[in-house]
Subunit: 509 residues, 2 copies
């Protein structure tokens, strides 16, 4: 206990109010003189469609990033794995004579799918637009200021990936550019690695890491993804949850039926799905699937204590988000994010609203995502879901089309398919290099930064540990209210400016 | 009991194998000589978009039907109620000197909404297409035969409303045309009434009936809508269930949230909806909403006995539809259709499949339809659903947008809105005019026709009883496997030919 307390104080020492470093002030002044140029390059990046499944868009985005590297005097390389025709990682490196450390900076350039119809009127996912504030807080469109004119840092820029994660790509490259322009030398060898398949579960990242093991040798990966703390404080995260998506489809009649002529008799797949989903959680949001919380590696004392120091924002956040009662039976958000979770991403069966018709649908689908913590295994977690569905009397298959024989034989039929997900990862908080990172980030601000044992979100960081034997630390930049993964994704400009100062400091570790 | 048994035998007498009448054979020969002309006029009708909410399409459809009346020497009239700008009924009449009876023939010309993306490749809802059989049984496109060439009666014509209910409109007008061409006089005064708002719940039908009470005076309304019995036998129905649609929307956070960062803590509206829906029915499909089966008027002895004579088709139908187990704990389809029901028409929350993203959605919606039997009241039935949702801890509103105060005050918020539905109606099976109808339909076929106390589906027939004090009897023509209300709606041509013979007989009551 004593040892942990001591280590924690060391870490937290970094978290007590330092004065901001000269480098930070210098970076700020540089940024203030170049805001319009910075914004223009970022807007160019945002204007390129980057949905992870859109091959042409992904190629174009990779090309734009390669050009950004070239403009900074870095020779870009596209790193493939064994599998061809999948998004490459865009890579570049800056070797610093005399450097004793090598740090890889990671962000991903692909984005989540978009349904343009769900975006607010006037917004298009790939036409970046400036607003005076959050749309749902009365933000209005603003036009781009002339070069040299001041830009209000509370403005937001709306576009898919403005936060997740082109903000990461841009922050890293803008920070390096700032060093060049300010004539400040990095103190470590810098490597830049921009993934293009993160939102599809990083299916081929393992191949790329395996194939380029030597090139990617380093002491640390710094991951620029996700939002800073909800208080607006800067944050350092020592791990991530794992993630795997599961699609659950329930089948009933082969053809849609008139709900009047067959309504009490033919089974309704939407109701079957509702019952199945309802069986998975209790009223407090606890997952009822057998063994769901097994395999969990307990938190270390250091992690437990760090959790208690995270500013409590639950009540403020609940009000801001506008819902009455959180799940979890009174546990804090910070605690709950350290558990495996089951979330319904979407539901669909026939139509609702104006398109609704009086039918019994033929099938009903839910997309789930399972977040994993240290100790969980993605495949094993999916198997628990499958076992649960089987235990509710279902025949479970992976096939899309169900044969007449199967239909005759099984009263309840479900299709469960899983994307290739990945496991959680946590870097021990007491590693010396972890403390160095914490100090660097703290050097850029007066407020105590927030130290999180694990992000609630996911990145395939276990791969770096497994394949490269290298620790990872995540240092996010985006605002927490960024609508990441959804319609109306946005980035608050001050977060970009703050991120620039953070990453300049991280290049002088 | 004796009295009931006697009446039933009278009714069933009509149901014993008669030889087909001369009139039927004459009609058949007429049809065989005019198949291509009949089909052309029907195809013209099907080609006009008639989605009930599409004002332009509805007007055009009404115009086409008015022209059909004119071609038959009948002066068409467009009947409005008080409310302007809603679909009119298309009306025409043929007064027969010396006739002692007046019969109104009803069908509706509007159709259910269409989602063209859900239709099979190559099919468009308003481009009627001939196929050699059901699509899902290997049916292939066939081209229109030349005039005079035989048409295979097992062919299907695919289009929205090919069955529901342009088949009704066309059958009635084709039958009258056949009488004209065959030089056979109707024995009763004939009135034709084609409604244009049935699929929207016949919201203004009461106004039209009130306003044109005198014009619509008659001894009987014959309703041409719905499918014949699943055995293919002709059918006479003495009533319908009522129907009311309810939309249920559950709200959670104001903005979509990243499922990783908030996944165990922020409530998920899709899960809330699933739990709510699951609470409404037990595993056998019995509705658990308090009082749901109250208010039901018991069946008469005659109706009970008629139910037992309906051919058992459950097992064959279950196999054909490809599901393993029916709801209802072993009760027959015929019995179950005499109960009030609750059906989920559709579900929606965020996205599934390729568009799915790792988010916690902001809301989740289900469209329900409630079928009502004699004794139920539509508003009262909806109130039971509202009371149930309230009993699950929800604050229920009708407003689309929820205020911050409401969000702060209520942990669970649902919006429940209902369209204007209508109640059930049943005509006593022992009315003399009912027996006359049964005899006329039976005169056209050798097989016993099926007598149903009530259709499972709905039509606003209670209005005729309430406003006009006139009984209704439904005589359907469509095939049972017609995908009515859904994608790939179709009509088997033999059903059109059979219907023609039925309706010629019904015009000689």
């Amino acid at each position: 206990m004593k040892k942990f307390a001591l280590l924690l104080s060391c870490l937290l020492l970094a978290g007590t109010a330092f004065s901001q470093s000269e480098l930070t002030l210098k970076t700020r002044s540089y940024r203030q003189q170049h805001e319009r140029q910075l914004l223009d390059e970022f807007r160019g990046l945002l204007a390129i469609p980057n949905v992870v499944y859109d091959t042409a868009g992904i190629q174009k985005t990779a090309g734009y990033i390669a050009d950004m590297l070239k403009r900074r005097g870095i020779q870009p390389q596209l790193l493939d794995g064994r599998t061809k025709g999948v998004p490459p990682a865009v890579y570049g490196e800056v070797m610093v004579p005399g450097a004793t450390k090598t740090v890889v900076f990671y962000a991903h350039y692909d984005g989540q799918p978009v349904n343009p119809n769900q975006w607010a009127e006037g917004l298009k996912p790939f036409e970046p637009a400036l607003y005076s504030g959050r749309l749902d807080a009365g933000g209005q469109p603003v036009s781009l200021p002339k070069p040299g004119e001041p830009i209000n840092p509370d403005w937001r820029i709306y576009a898919r990936s403005s936060s997740d994660d082109k903000a990461g790509v841009f922050t890293i490259l803008a920070a390096y550019d700032a060093l060049l322009k300010m004539n400040v030398k990095p103190t470590a060898n810098l490597k830049f690695f921009f993934e293009g398949e993160e939102e599809a579960g990083s299916t081929h990242l393992n191949e790329i890491l395996e194939r380029h093991k030597d090139k990617l040798k380093s002491d640390l990966w710094i991951i620029c993804d996700g939002p800073v703390h909800q208080t607006g404080r800067k944050q350092v995260q020592f791990g991530v949850r794992g993630d795997i998506n599961v699609e659950l489809k329930v089948y009933a009649s082969k053809r849609p039926l008139h709900s009047g002529h067959y309504g009490n008799w033919a089974p309704n797949p939407a109701m079957m799905l509702a019952r199945l989903l309802a069986s998975m959680k209790d009223d407090d949001g606890n997952v009822l699937i057998k063994g769901f919380y097994d395999d969990v590696t307990p938190l270390t004392e250091l992690e437990k204590q760090a959790l208690t120091r995270i500013p409590a924002i639950d009540e403020r956040l609940r009000q801001e988000l506008g819902f009455g009662k959180a799940e979890g039976g009174g546990k804090s958000l910070a605690e709950l994010l350290m558990r495996p979770s089951l979330n319904i991403n979407g539901l669909s069966s026939a139509n609702v609203g104006k398109l609704a018709a009086n039918v019994i649908p033929t099938s009903a689908t839910a997309t789930l995502d399972l977040r994993l913590v240290l100790g969980n295994d993605a495949r094993r977690q999916v198997q628990k879901v499958i076992d649960h569905v089987v235990a509710q009397g279902y025949y479970v298959t992976q096939k899309e089309s169900i044969t007449d024989e199967e239909r005759a034989k099984y009263p309840r039929i479900a299709r469960i398919t899983a994307e290739s997900g990945y496991n959680a990862q946590r870097t021990p908080m007491d590693l010396p290099i972890a403390q160095t990172v914490v100090k660097a980030v703290q050097s850029t601000v007066k407020d105590n930064i927030v130290l999180q044992p694990s992000l609630g979100g996911s990145l395939p960081l276990y791969l770096f540990e497994q394949i490269l034997k290298t620790p990872t630390i995540t240092v996010p930049v985006a605002n927490h209210d960024n609508n990441q993964h959804a319609e109306n994704e946005n980035l608050r400009l001050q977060n970009l400016w703050d991120g620039l100062e953070t990453y300049v400091a991280l290049m002088r570790l």
